[in-house]
Symmetry: C2
Amino acid sequence: MIRLRSTFLGFALLLALAVSASADEGMWLYTAPPRAQIKAKYGFDLTDAWLDNLMKSSVRFISGGSGSFVSGDGLVITNFHIGRGDLLKMSNAEHNYVRDGFYAKTPAEEMKCLDLELNVLQSIEDVTARVNAAVPADATGTDAALARRKIFADIEKESLDQTGLRSDVVTLYQGGVYHLYRYKRYTDIRIVFAPEEQAADFGGDPDNFEFPRFDLDICIFRVYENGQPVHPAHFLKWSATGAQDGELTFVSGHPGTTRRLLTIPEIEYMRDSQLPYYLQVIKRREVLYSVWSGRADENARRADSDLLNVQNNRKRSDGQLAALQDPVFFGAKVAAEQAFKQQLAATPNGKDALAAFDRIVAAQKIITGLEPRFRLLEDGAGFNSASFSLARRLLRAGAERPKPNGERLPEFSDAKRESFEQLLFSNAPIYSDFEILKLADSLGYLVEQFGADDPLVQSVLAGKSPRDRAAELINTTQVRDLAFRKKLYEGGADAVAAAHDPMIELARVIDPESRALRKTVEAQQEIIQEAHAVIEKARFALEGTNNYPDATFTLRLAYGPVKSYEENGQTIPALTTFAGLFARDDAHHNREPFGLPARWLAKKSAVDLTTPLNFVNTADIIGGNSGSPVVNEAGEFVGIIFDGNIQSLSGDYGYSDVQTRSVSVHSAGILEALRKIYDAPALAAELFNGHR
Amino acid sequence: MIRLRSTFLGFALLLALAVSASADEGMWLYTAPPRAQIKAKYGFDLTDAWLDNLMKSSVRFISGGSGSFVSGDGLVITNFHIGRGDLLKMSNAEHNYVRDGFYAKTPAEEMKCLDLELNVLQSIEDVTARVNAAVPADATGTDAALARRKIFADIEKESLDQTGLRSDVVTLYQGGVYHLYRYKRYTDIRIVFAPEEQAADFGGDPDNFEFPRFDLDICIFRVYENGQPVHPAHFLKWSATGAQDGELTFVSGHPGTTRRLLTIPEIEYMRDSQLPYYLQVIKRREVLYSVWSGRADENARRADSDLLNVQNNRKRSDGQLAALQDPVFFGAKVAAEQAFKQQLAATPNGKDALAAFDRIVAAQKIITGLEPRFRLLEDGAGFNSASFSLARRLLRAGAERPKPNGERLPEFSDAKRESFEQLLFSNAPIYSDFEILKLADSLGYLVEQFGADDPLVQSVLAGKSPRDRAAELINTTQVRDLAFRKKLYEGGADAVAAAHDPMIELARVIDPESRALRKTVEAQQEIIQEAHAVIEKARFALEGTNNYPDATFTLRLAYGPVKSYEENGQTIPALTTFAGLFARDDAHHNREPFGLPARWLAKKSAVDLTTPLNFVNTADIIGGNSGSPVVNEAGEFVGIIFDGNIQSLSGDYGYSDVQTRSVSVHSAGILEALRKIYDAPALAAELFNGHR
């Protein structure tokens, strides 16, 4: 599965840069779609009406994925692996909706999610001139950053006040362009249908990022407002025949992060520092969660989401690191940068851009030096637990809220307030045994990394072992009590201090150093960002503007045909069928993670086994695109993205359409499963007809 | 399970020091058994005849475990987890003896192991004076080490020539004492019985190092010579009633390594460097092997031993690190050393010992500085594959064999020649796909650790990615061909060079730096060793000689009663039963790793469910004791060690009998299983009667 959840890699710079596109490459802005390329290569015209309908049918899951409206009565479809966190939050020891799936036969049975937020993009406005005007020309890194943060907050608040829409200023082309994205927010989201995990994630971690593939990775919600289903003006018409081999398709979704135009020192940093560090942490966690899950079924249920998350990130990061450790792949990046620098050297104004490269080297070096402590403190790797996250949010809210909007840490700005509170006041279950396990292990990691004699470590442990200290903190903190959180959030810094909550006091102990690290790191990131802006302007001057920016978890359009590919001398067909699913299940003796649910085995004879189940196309996607609708030239829903193949894992750093493929569930396969396996004719009919 | 297999931690100093014993503490030398303590506490006399019979019935598995003769017709019993490597080597895609178990109903069906070596201790001789005489008093670290290595080799060769027995000089009390251990070697070992892994390792990794426990962790071999079963003069009489709650018991086995008298800087090094590093490497491997195993059943079979090994080591090392990260446990070690140093300061000759502490600090610092490269090169963490190990053995054999015996690296000495060749010429299967997986991952680790621009890394990769280079090396080397290895080993350095084998040439590329690192590290270890000798002599002077040395994978005697313990306010009874086993299986819905084999479920009604299955006693054991016989005062076999509880994991650094327990299979439970579940009355009768 492809998933953008963790902000762990957020510390790596989220750069938004322009690239030159070739083949079916590109995650294109809706304001600058690749009309010419598509017309030239496929003879198809992207019309404004076609684009507008697709844009307003596309949905962003703020938890880290994509989706789309597929009925006039408010149905939204996304992946099971995007909805599974919500299913889990509604599960308990009696009801396990992840394992068993869920189907609301009547509207009354539709279950309201605890803290899910959906966004639907309504408009895009260019605010570049206003942002640039607010930043003094002679401002240095930190001052420029503060000025920019302030104008972002002002623009966002003004827009929110005027329109009532969630308003985010997005940095594109590394500060070449600033756009204001306005979203309609939905927070009453109810679950309508999910298959069993064994059907949605058939093949589990072994088949993750592999193809051929056989997953019914879907989850269907209905969006409500004022207690009633919404009737969106735009939704996608369902194609019962679905994606055809060879036909041109489009993907509309929210790719999270790409790093295609990093400079070599930054890529080296990813290869030599960030990815190895990150993999070390998540492999440690993977072992921790796996072992604990093995002790009891209930443990497995409680650790389930965290475990899947680390497995998914581990497989993706392993693939990324392998790409960067390949001298051929990496050598091509080096050669491209060298050629570009030679061009710059031969250009009258190239000197500025070359100097900008040097500034990146210097800033990167400072960041790298601070990281060992930054990662454990500000990034939280030393305090892995929901309780600590809540405690720090409460502590910082008390300190940040009284400040002027533009001077707060960005996550406390007025424009992000509703989303922040949605998270802070979530009633999703937090299990103290699992919390102790995670916190104890990460405190142990803190001791390893800083050393047992480090004064901060000694303050954190307070004379106890990591295990005993974690148990004490988790067992005595009140932050898992919603009423307590509300009281402290409303009471502000004084109430927070008066509570003497041990976990909040722990967050207070590390806060001075943690904030100081963040401040320095962000200042250096600003320097890097501005250096990139200089470099990219020089690149525009040399290479023109036929480009798309790096991904920013904002809506993009990708395209490409449904297409087979060659691997180890064999042709991998573009589509798989239900017959292939049952065959693979047989080959693994119906054993986990390959075992099909009993319902599937019982209904096998009812199914048309030639029905397509999954397929691949060449569209350029990345984590965050999970759940993106795939549409045909008629704009109809023909499938839903849920993964990329193993060759796609280099996609953070580059694109090729030779073997790289996106993997989708087929729209005909979805109808077949709903009708023949899940006895859900009403839901199938609503999808087929576009209304109830 | 407790297992001493990996030499990975071998780099951590294997110190043999004296300690003051309390409670039922101690892994005692057969030359200095704790007669007085046992007499005083339990009123029992250890007689020479009793000790001689137990010593000569005890068996060492050179692959890393213990066992004992239990019939006059050559039966040896050990743990399943000690025999499983041999079972695996005899398995293939058709026969899976690890999964399905094995039983030879007739002598003709007994299967010969591929490369198993057993040792039975025959005599112990004190050679301290001769060793000390051969080392000039003014020799410095390296010179002293060379002189010692030479006299070791001389003594061992002389003894081998005279007696035909395997002869090992063992360093005890950190050079206070040197003993010559003479063993009868057996190499024709045939497998008679093993249960299914699901019965032997019921509960798998989740229940590993836990109690209550329900494992039939046994494996029975028969020892042959000249094509006939041996008739050992000494073997243990089987007790059909087995261990009784509260009775005094003894454990005779081969504990591998303890570190109870390390100085604080050395323990800090374990806590801050060695254990975190080691855990990082094995958690990385655990994830690698688990994921690959999940893709196909055959993968799982091929990776099985390696995966179990890293899981076992991970759980043990996690427990050790947790003990060292506990300020109470660690603080007690610090306080003890400080008190000792104060005593030294008040002693006329204490100055020398205090200076020795400083020498340890200095030497440890040098070792710590060299380790990042030592671990990957000489310790092999950058080249994890059987093929590389074979290639390096061939390369070094060519260089070392022509040298005088005493100047060779120790593993090439004449005395170790037979064991070395047994390993080098093993015909155990090596799977190229699994080899590529392991080598690719460890080459990637090498790139991470040294950096992609490191000249040695570039030589190793030869312009390819870790994955491609690993595939090339594994697919083109001939070292997995036994005839090729024989030819090169006999042909010596010239033949090795002429072969131009790519893996051997890779080993040659890293050999200069790898050998240089080893030389420096070993010289510092010598300095540390000699400093410890000074310190321990001073300790003797202050504290007397009522001590046992740290473990050295040589035969030791431990003792203590069968005894319950308290945990989280509950009493954990000392014995478990077959009834408890079936109950735990039910609680986990007969699902792996808790699923009992079908045979067990079918035979349940035939079994006396009150029969004891596992039990605990307070005997002081450590990894390497796996398979050790537990005997009663009559010297009868009442059980077999296979694990310690989770509280025992601090045992590397200290002992307490409050909660620390050793876990055994009960002798009555073994008979019950053989008779009622495995339809093996002949084997049960041979154990019961002591002969066929």
